[in-house]
Symmetry: C2
Subunit: 146 residues, 2 copies
DNA sequence: ATTCTATTTTGTAATCATTACAGATATATA
DNA sequence: TATATATCTGTAATGATTACAAAATAGAAT
């Protein structure tokens, strides 16, 4: 955890991005909360520790980090933008009932698709939707009870 | 084209969705314009033919069609919701430069991923981003000219 | 340490997409 | 035709994001 966090700091220096206190805190939050939080979640939680924090700063920081390739934007839902500290290729599963987003490993190279050799592909995202194990068992439980 | 359009009408009847003029026109637009249009594009274009059309109706219609599984929402970008008449599994490629969204065939079953057997998977989406052939050749052209 | 400069943050206002709602219109049924 | 239901419309409200200008901060130079 700490090790990768130090790595992030170095990544920022490499890209000439100053590491302000606010930016550090946003990065820290994403590192510690890997639940793909929304801007509002990040802001609300950090605001407890940093009462002067502005939501604009959170937006600015997330944009900068994203442009630097240090975080990934998850657009699995059309009405909520989420952020992910994990920029390695992996899939996302969103539960329709509880709304939680689960990570899963994928081998993107296994996916067969049309010839796109004339396209320059920069990123690949895989989004699944459905119902998670917890919610499925809740449904069963409710049915049993009637 | 006409054949599948008749098919759509029947799908609507099957699901007890009345086929109003406005709904027919939205469906027709999506059938004829397979470029994954935004709400605004659909509204603006239909408004020429139907001056009384309300944007709210377009929103309502798209929601109804989506809930009935007759159209698919494409959330490849976080700031623009797009709509697709093609509900079969296929991938989407968005060009960062011209913004165009390309379809491509995929074999979703070829993708290897973590064991999700305890999850109920209802839908799978694959989104690629990068630069399309046309924009790539424009870049080359500009470099040559200096 | 002080001044100067560039960067970052903050707070507010503006914008844009979407939804809520209530009245008007059209459609179906008796 | 009368009545009930469904749909459409226009406007207002909401919520997320962006624009912007002033305030605060940090870094460099003197
Ligand atoms: Mn993730
Ligand atoms: Mn498509
Ligand atoms: Zn769930
Ligand atoms: Zn392009």
């Amino acid at each position: 955890m700490e090790a990768s966090f130090e790595g992030l700091k170095q990544e920022l220096k490499k890209r000439d991005i100053n590491l302000s206190y606010q930016r550090l805190k946003v990065l820290e939050y994403l590192t510690l909360n890997r639940c793909h939080p929304t801007v509002d979640q990040i802001f609300t939680n950090l605001h407890r520790d940093i009462p002067t924090l502005s939501k604009t700063t959170v937006y600015n920081t997330l944009r900068i980090l994203q442009e630097a390739g240090l975080i990934k934007v998850v657009t699995i839902e059309d009405n909520e933008t989420r952020y992910d500290i994990d920029v390695e290729d992996h899939g996302h599963f969103k539960c329709k009932l509880c709304g939680k987003i689960y990570d899963f490993h994928t081998d993107m190279s296994s996916l067969t698709f049309d010839d796109l050799s004339n396209f320059r592909i920069d990123s690949k995202d895989v989004y699944f939707k459905g119902i998670c194990p917890g919610c499925l068992s809740n449904i069963k439980e409710n049915k049993r009870r009637g």
